[in-house]
Symmetry: C2
Subunit: 339 residues, 2 copies
């Protein structure tokens, strides 16, 4: 049982496959129907054109109808589909799961229907007899797919209620250029992975509004980190998670360029959300749905008395106001700065 | 008693004066002998050429021999000289101090002779009858002088054992574009302000070694933040201080360009420390002496059983090894990444 199954041959799934393949780890890379072209391309050329890397030996490619075959000799299953697809995919793999499997999710986000984490979506999708039998691990931290595929120094955190499963997953990933951390705070890692998208929009906003200066961005960097710790705390997780790789690290990497920051910058320069998205050719900007879902989640926590939004997440509140309550950028930023 | 005295008319002292002056706060700006030219220039042109800003009304300029006059009508005294000058200056102002004064320090560093914080240097320099009578506040956080002077959004943290004094200082600084935080963790703010210089070198090193990629830098950003929290903790401060403005915020701002990063980048590209400094025209790089002083301080803490360097500050250890123990960049980074 020594192959890793990667569900989803998008940019992240493929990058993880390349990383593991380069380590000599056997990989079954399974694509959804939307990955057909990528799989064709890899089969034909031996390269992943999007990542601009050679696909190492030891990666076997599987098309959507070959899901059962893809499970052969597999213990670790990595789910790397987009957040909208988590529920669907989790159910799709049910027939092939057994209690020896370990599931590792890398998808970041809050599910818009249930306002739960990606891990919770997977857990809820497990067949009844396997609930609490299969360990679920979350891989968080600053991992830009293309940089991982190109073998740049990378660090990730493997979080699970089952520490043994986290260690098992980390061992599979560890390499001289991939540093690993272990945590039991899976909720904390999930929340940081999700919320950092909203704060990355704020980093862009302040840059678009004020210009490319570092005092403002540093202040937003710090405030986002504090608020993520407050959010994790309110959820029952560990504040330390926000301080490290999953919080500060992922927030930093997401703020260095990227679409959240780009959108924020356009907003800061005076565009409406609609105008900004048009300029960006309607690119998917994770922080936009995340801010709405995150707001609803935080409101739930507030109703339970576990957080006070105005006190514990004032910057997030203003991001929400700007994106969803038609608050002007200037008013939103000034509200935060004079709060 | 409504004037603020700023001791030191270097770039930071002058920037603070401009910020306060623009708020309508009366300022006495006192320069050491090394500030004579700056004072002359400001008197003559009404501008600070280094900061490239107009000097607002309400700032009175005092030369070194006019120290006593500079104290007239003053309650808040801001010490903004370089770290090497803290002891000397603290003693120099002794004759004019009384218990109604509040001292605010902005200088960042660890004193090389005593291995104490800047606040401790000031405290130890106070005349006996005023020890524990005068409140000392530290201003920390990401405050680049030229950006503050130009009125960019800025956020700072005012830390003191005397919370009233911290609030008093913050009130003087607060403006619609200067956001303030209050803390009682003055040691934590001091330590973050000092140690971030070393970690900024590490950010530069990884960029110079690996290239301008974000996975590596994000990992170093996170690790530095965690380690600063561990160091603050070991010293008896509050880990949260490292999470916020004083830690993450200042670390971020210091890593965006700046001499620490520049030196690190040159080291990462293969230069020795000596070669790198030559390329930089022997510019002062705070992180270099800070790494030595910080190491000695941490060794003291380790001897007291309050920290375990290899476990709690492995990245700092490698920075020290690289700068002072002739460890190669590759070995240093690999030691950290494979630890």
């Amino acid at each position: 049982m020594n192959k890793v199954l990667i569900i989803g041959a998008g940019v992240m799934g493929s990058a993880l496959a390349v990383h593991l393949g380069n380590k000599g780890q056997g990989v079954n890379l399974w694509g959804t129907q939307w990955d057909n072209e990528i799989l064709d391309d890899m089969k034909k050329s031996g390269r992943h054109s999007g990542l601009d890397v050679v696909v190492p030996n030891g990666i076997d490619l599987y098309y959507e109808h070959q899901l059962e075959e893809a499970f052969k000799d597999v213990k670790l299953i990595i789910i790397a589909v987009i957040s909208k697809g988590m529920g669907y995919i989790s159910k799709k793999i049910n027939p092939y799961l057994n209690k020896k499997h370990v599931i590792l999710t890398v998808t970041k986000g809050i599910d818009e229907d249930t306002l739960t984490t990606m891990t919770q979506v997977v857990e809820q999708s497990l067949p009844t007899e396997l609930k609490n039998q299969i360990s679920i691990v979350k891989l968080g931290g600053p991992i830009i797919a293309i940089e991982l595929a190109k073998g740049k120094f990378t660090e990730g955190i493997f979080a699970s209620k089952d520490i043994e499963a986290a260690i098992y997953s980390a061992d599979i990933f560890r390499s001289p250029k991939f540093r690993t951390n272990i945590s039991n705070d899976i909720d904390g890692v999930e929340l940081c992975a999700a919320f950092k998208n909203s704060y990355a929009i704020a980093m862009g906003i302040i840059e678009g509004l004020e210009g490319d200066f570092n005092n403002p961005k540093a202040a937003i960097m710090a405030r986002g980190s504090i608020e993520m710790a407050n959010i994790v705390d309110a959820f029952g997780g560990n504040r330390e998670t926000a301080l490290g790789i999953a919080g500060v690290g992922d927030y930093y990497v997401t703020s260095q360029g990227g679409r959240n920051g780009k959108l924020g910058s356009l907003l800061g320069q005076g565009n409406s959300v609609e105008q900004a998205l048009e300029i960006m050719n309607n690119a998917t900007v994770e922080g936009i749905p995340m801010t709405l879902n995150g707001y609803k989640l935080l409101k739930e926590l507030e109703n339970q008395g576990r957080i006070v939004l105005k006190r514990d997440a004032p910057l997030f509140l203003e991001i929400y106001n700007i994106l969803y309550d038609e608050k002007s950028i200037k008013d939103g930023i000034n509200s935060y700065w004079n709060e």
